[in-house]
């Protein structure tokens, strides 16, 4: 059971998405775990073969409990005395709860049976064994229609991706109490003139189909990420050994949930992505937050958080750092205000950006340099 944030102590396994005997590749989603942040898809961080489940559907286990035994490439087959390679870091006492082996009809479709590629793919999705199907194609080959006629294997377990907002509120409360107790916050605020960014965005979007359009939020995330590559005291984790800066910039984009609640999944390597890619990630994350299907890596390795109030917000927001991170940026609503430009008062679109920094790691002077750098980057939107 991986840790999906400093506030998580345990999780409940609700669904297996891979079956024993299946080949796993690094990054595959193997299981769904219910946590206070909703149903989270658990990814595997190694290649191998799923040998057996160690945790049953419906079981709630502490963080660190192995969920399954995985045989790595080249390891000897299924010897029980082999050291287990588990999804999560093994703990001293693995839970002795293997489930019964899957019935043969549910085995993954790894077989020499004659079948069309579409039939193979569909059979795999449905959990059907091609060898057990009667083929109606040339030479008795199994074709897509045969698979469709066979229906689906009985589902292992299903759970809607619904969020428990009361549980989420408890998780937010626990994290924020810890933050306010342990992290000596300091706050900075800076108004940024968005005239250049706004007019660049309008010009860019005017020439684009709706599906290709960008939001100002994508520019904010990119500017923050680029600035953090220079200002490393705001990007990383604070642990028992003090501050560990992160080379990678995984910006967590806070997404609010209707009805209350908030989660900030990471956009991995935000600084390396172009605006179109960031926009696509934002759209995908918002959709999956609302559906309650996030992935483990998106919650476990966020290096900094950006929280944006959007167009229905207010001028400024002073956020609380999400431990073990050491900084959070708050972005208010873009609004038209009088501003002095070259000695003249002119209406300009402004945004107030705030930084909450961790005084154990940085101070106001360095924070100001970070905010000024973000401002500078937003003055050249075409370079983002």
């Amino acid at each position: 059971m991986p840790s999906l944030g400093s506030d998580m102590e345990a999780g409940t396994l609700v669904e297996w998405l891979k079956r024993p005997g299946e080949n796993l590749r690094r990054g595959d989603i193997v299981a769904v775990v219910e946590t206070q942040k909703g149903a989270i898809e658990i990814e595997i961080f190694q290649d191998g073969i799923l040998e057996e489940y160690l945790v049953d559907i419906g079981q709630t286990v502490p963080v660190g409990t192995p969920l399954a035994r995985v045989r790595g490439p080249g390891e000897a087959a299924a010897a029980v005395e082999e050291a287990p390679r588990a999804v999560a870091e093994p703990v001293a006492t693995p839970l002795p709860m293997p489930v019964a082996p899957a019935p043969s009809a549910l085995k993954a479709a790894v077989t020499g049976a004659l079948a069309s590629p579409a039939a193979r793919q569909s059979a795999a999705q449905r959990g059907l064994d091609l060898a057990a199907l009667k083929g109606s194609g040339p030479g008795g080959a199994v074709v897509l229609a045969d698979v469709e006629a066979a229906g689906v294997a009985p589902p292992l377990a299903r759970k809607s991706g619904g969020l428990d907002l009361d549980e989420m509120r408890k998780a937010i409360a626990a994290a924020m109490i810890r933050s306010k107790r342990e992290i000596p916050h300091y706050y900075l605020s800076h108004d940024i003139d968005l005239a250049a960014a706004t007019s660049w965005l309008e010009r860019t979007n005017a020439a684009r189909e709706p599906a290709e359009r960008l939001l100002m939020g994508a520019l904010f995330l990119k500017a923050v990420a680029l600035a953090l590559t220079k200002h490393k005291a705001f990007n990383g984790f604070y642990g028992d050994g003090g501050f560990m800066p992160s080379e990678a910039v995984h910006v967590g984009a806070a997404v609010s949930i209707r009805g209350g609640g908030l989660v900030a999944p990471a956009i991995h390597d935000t600084d390396q992505l172009d605006l179109d890619a960031i926009m696509a990630k934002m759209r995908d994350l918002v959709a999956r937050v609302r559906a309650g299907t996030l992935r483990s890596s998106e919650l476990a390795d966020t290096t900094v958080t950006v929280s944006s109030l959007g167009e229905r917000g207010v001028e400024g927001m002073y956020s609380i750092i999400y431990p073990p991170q050491v900084a959070i940026l708050g972005i208010g609503k873009v609004r038209e205000r009088p501003w002095v430009v070259e000695g003249q008062v002119a209406p300009r679109p402004l945004v107030t950006m705030t930084l909450a920094g961790d005084h154990r790691v940085s101070d106001g002077h360095r924070g100001a340099l970070l905010l000024n750098e973000i401002d500078r980057l937003l003055q050249e939107p075409e370079a983002l």
């Binding site: 309008e202 979007n205 005017a206 189909e209 709706p210 599906a211 359009r213 939001l215 100002m216 939020g217 609010s256 209707r258 009805g259 934002m282 759209r283 918002v286 959007g310 167009e311 229905r312």
Partner: protein, 82 residues
Amino acid sequence: MTPDEARAILLEELSNIAPEWDPAEIDPAEDIREAMDIDSMDVLNLVIALHKRTGVDIPESDYGKMITIEGAVAYLTAKSGG
């Protein structure tokens, strides 16, 4: 496209974007961003869906006309040639 057709498509796409709400219950003159807790990403997704369904081109400068149900119905009807 008739106003009724435009309304049917709009309400369907609105409920895809904010399934927590029944758009038929929303006052057609109310700002949907307030009434249905819709943010700029949702508005963009709505515009994308409406463009796909109706072929109507909705430039960003016209988003302001889409923020009430009655406004959006009138806009879609007019832009599709009634």
